[in-house]
Subunit: 330 residues, 2 copies
């Protein structure tokens, strides 16, 4: 197994993501980062380390004329060769406003819709440690404070405001360990071409200027600056006071009814899932029906005081929910 693939499955397990029976959408632009992610996930499927249905998703944003169409053709051919399903989307060219920001919002909307359509538990993107360092610097310069310096998380909810089904996860399994050079090298080792984003040269874009001008200067100060910035973001993520409205429930032993009743339906489902995941130590076997049962426990006074979940039960008492594990007979 290639070291890149081994690192990916190790990270997958560290993130406690499911390894079988689900559908996963992989965002593929055609660049080395997303192509390497698709290749490695596909390799893990062939090796039966990950038994998921893989659906690649590509959005043609038509921002770069014939280059955009060539990207789309490239992704079509690649997925055909691999025998991977492909969901394609197209955007009309919209001028004005923040081009980067608008394209980003539309890309995530397309990915969320695709995930809902194919009933995927998650969308995976190829963000690398370099993207993390750039995001950190963007947010630092913008002055967005500790929350901004936490930068990107390896997993988050993709569509927190969708009421149904369970919120889809956004998973970034390369974020903490893969450098851009690693993704390019893995593609080369597999003998697979990748597309080169000509917008990477346009320093009118703030992120490109950070990549092409600021980071090289910072590397003069510290050659390991990309790792340092990504690691700093990680450390800030781990501070309990840094806002992470979803994950704060992971820290709580008990859910306080008065607190979670103020959440909207999707936030409440996400809170229950996060809390149960942390209490049970795993995401496995937890389905929508369990989440819904706990939700009823929270919202209704008539719903009794216990909801069964795989491996144990959730008990309501004194305005709180606590999790009780099944006792195992020796």
């Amino acid at each position: 197994m290639h070291a890149f693939v081994r690192s990916l499955i190790t990270e997958w397990r560290r993130l406690d993501l499911p390894v079988e029976g689900e559908t996963i959408v992989v965002a593929v632009s055609g660049g080395a980062d997303s192509v390497s992610l698709l290749l490695a996930l596909h390799d893990l499927k062939e090796r039966e380390k990950l038994n998921h249905r893989i659906v690649a998703a590509h959005l043609n944003h038509h921002l770069r004329g014939s280059d955009s169409d060539a990207d789309e053709r490239f992704v079509k051919l690649l997925t055909q060769d691999l025998g991977v399903e492909l969901a394609l989307g197209g955007l009309e060219l919209v001028s004005g406003g923040n081009l980067e920001q608008n394209a980003r919002v539309k890309r995530y909307r397309f990915l969320a819709e695709t995930a809902e359509r194919v009933k995927a538990f998650a969308v995976a993107t190829g963000h690398t440690i370099n993207d993390q360092a750039e995001t950190f610097l963007m947010n630092l310069i913008r002055g967005s404070g500790p929350d901004g310096l936490a930068a990107m998380r390896s997993t988050r909810t993709l569509n927190p405001h969708a009421a149904d089904p369970l919120p889809t996860l956004l998973v970034r399994p390369l974020l903490t360990w893969a450098k851009r050079g690693d993704t390019e090298q893995y593609c080369k080792d597999r003998g697979i071409e990748y597309r080169y984003d000509t917008m990477n040269e346009d320093t009118a874009f703030r992120r490109v200027r950070i990549r092409k001008v600021l980071l090289p200067l910072l590397e003069d100060f510290n050659p390991k600056i990309v790792e340092v910035l990504a690691n700093t973001a990680n450390l800030i993520q781990s501070l309990p006071a840094v806002d992470d409205s979803e994950n704060r429930f992971a820290e709580q032993d008990e859910l306080i009814l008065g607190e979670v009743r103020g959440l909207d339906s999707a936030e409440l489902k996400a809170a229950i899932r996060t809390w149960l995941h942390a209490r049970r130590g795993t995401r496995r076997q937890l389905g929508l029906k369990h989440i819904t049962a706990v939700e009823r426990l929270i919202l209704s006074e008539k719903s009794g005081r216990v909801a069964e979940v795989p491996g144990g039960r959730v008990v309501k008492a004194d305005g709180r929910l606590r999790y009780e594990e099944n006792k195992v007979e020796k």
Copy 2:
């Protein structure tokens, strides 16, 4: 009153520093930052807003040959003109090692010794918002994590390991609001020359490269970058999880004996002072004898269960200390 002086006394009050009856050492290199601080503190004394004995302290580190001697002469003349006491120190030129770091350590040692000698409650330095931004970037590049990004605090203990007397404070009353341009302008408005540090041009020093190369590039991204970085450091300081071994006691309603008994004598005194300061809402009137009485309460089982302090008392019960305020008759 000049706006610079008004800003200084406002910050002085915000930091809840004493306004009379103490001695304060002001570190004066001869540069605009420290000269402006000395001038403004002296002005506040003349206006009877701050009734402290002021002692200027200058260390000739002999790093810049005749320039260093000219700095010393300048500070001598300035303090003579103002009628301010001056403590002078000299260092032999030491080569090798980290020149900047060594000079810094020796400067702080000189300031701490001077403060002890004149029984000062604090040493004040002229660090500005620009210094804070540079420290933030130095620590970011070095990879020192959230604690490093908290950068400099407006007040801290200068000699935490000195056993006696009460630890001296290090106070940076310009840190959160004065830009380098403000200190230069105030000196000009007062018609006072200041010395120019030729080492500010030597980009062999990391801090100078940050000031001269990195910060101007970051200003292209955001013209307010100095304020943004200093504000980010402030926000990180305010996160409860960021290490601030002294100030964490400010957050505690009660001191837990089992916890503070593990501190060494100076740390314990600092903890008591910080805790009492936060409970009482002021540093005023609190003397070494009160701190020592509380220390005995903590360390000895035979010391009774109450220590009187100005405005109230500290009561020992159930392995904890709590503060009780005197009741005021209506």
